[in-house]
């Protein structure tokens, strides 16, 4: 009974956050409601007994990834989104389609799916067991993901830093004297010849 009450409580918070993400027009409000969704999902993981996943969810998802999002919104000074003709078409087609899909999935799961029930804290895993599994059976995928992270870091650095664009923005914003090294021709990146 306690499990059901807690599940419904955090599930309601989760659903409210997800709906709020869709309703809000300003990205920072969407980001904050996504943080609410992730925090309540961490509570759901705790209910299932996955303490380590819950901790990682809070640290990595609600912490690191969402901080990245919020900083990007702040950096780009993103305002409220403008609605165009394309968005109206997307709403007309997308909303009924997604709702039909959701109702179908929920109906199938609730009436036809012969799944059992889970007890509170059903998962047996301590961090020790998870580590043993991760570093024995899943060692190769673990190493591959470390390479993936390395490539992602390099890609992010290459994509986000465009020295010639920074120099151009400096000259456009009527800075009297840009630094000498910013005037030098930068290495040719993709689309560096684009002019406004």
């Amino acid at each position: 009974m306690l499990h059901l009450i807690l599940f419904l409580f955090f599930g309601a918070i989760c659903v409210a956050g997800a709906v709020n993400l869709l309703v809000q027009s300003h990205p920072i409000n969407s980001a904050l409601s996504l943080i609410v969704v992730m925090a309540s999902l961490a509570a759901e993981y705790l209910l299932l007994g996955a303490e380590f996943v819950a901790a990682v969810q809070v640290i990595v998802y609600a912490g690191a990834i969402m901080v990245l999002f919020v900083i990007t919104i702040m950096l780009l000074n993103a305002g409220a989104e403008q609605h165009t003709k394309g968005s109206r078409v997307a709403i007309l087609i997308g909303v009924p389609g997604a709702l039909i899909g959701a109702v179908l999935v929920a109906w199938t799961l609730l009436t036809r799916g012969h799944t059992g029930s889970v007890a509170m804290g059903a998962l047996p895993g301590s961090p020790q067991d998870i580590a043993r599994l991760l570093f024995h059976e899943f060692l190769l995928p673990f190493e591959i993901t470390s390479v993936l992270i390395l490539i992602a870091i390099m890609g992010a650095v290459v994509l986000a830093s465009r020295p010639e664009a920074i120099a151009r923005r400096h000259t456009e914003s009527h800075q009297p004297d840009p630094l000498p090294q910013e005037r030098q021709p930068a290495p040719q990146l993709v689309g560096s010849g684009k002019e406004h």
Binding site: V15, S30, V37, T115, L148, L159, A160
Partner: protein, 100 residues
């Protein structure tokens, strides 16, 4: 005891919310957040099934999904910054050329 289907319905609802956001939102950052929402819904079903079958492999998969999400967020936000530098807009309707 909570039926497993409740967890799956919640996870499916989160996934559908992500799909809806992906379709109806015009801001590129919000679209990106919808993808994260979909990944979260999938993670919940992974953990719920892991609890059902008393298996730890589901949790390991959640970690891999998180790693992929983190890499995707880093690269994707860098692409968004690059797009914003050349176009001065975040509206996906105005980003209709692949060229930066």
């Amino acid at each position: 005891m909570v039926p497993l289907s409740y967890y799956l319905v919640l996870s499916g609802f989160l996934f559908v919310c992500g799909v809806l956001g992906f379709l109806i939102k015009r801001n590129i950052i919000t679209i990106f957040m919808s993808i994260e929402l979909m990944l979260n819904g999938v993670n919940l079903s992974f953990v719920a099934f892991a609890a059902q079958w008393h298996s730890l492999s589901g949790q390991i998969f959640v970690f891999f999904v998180m790693v992929v999400a983190a890499a995707e967020a880093a690269v994707g936000l860098a692409i968004i910054i690059a797009v914003y530098r050349t176009r001065e807009t975040l509206n996906v309707d105005q980003v209709n050329l692949l060229k930066l």
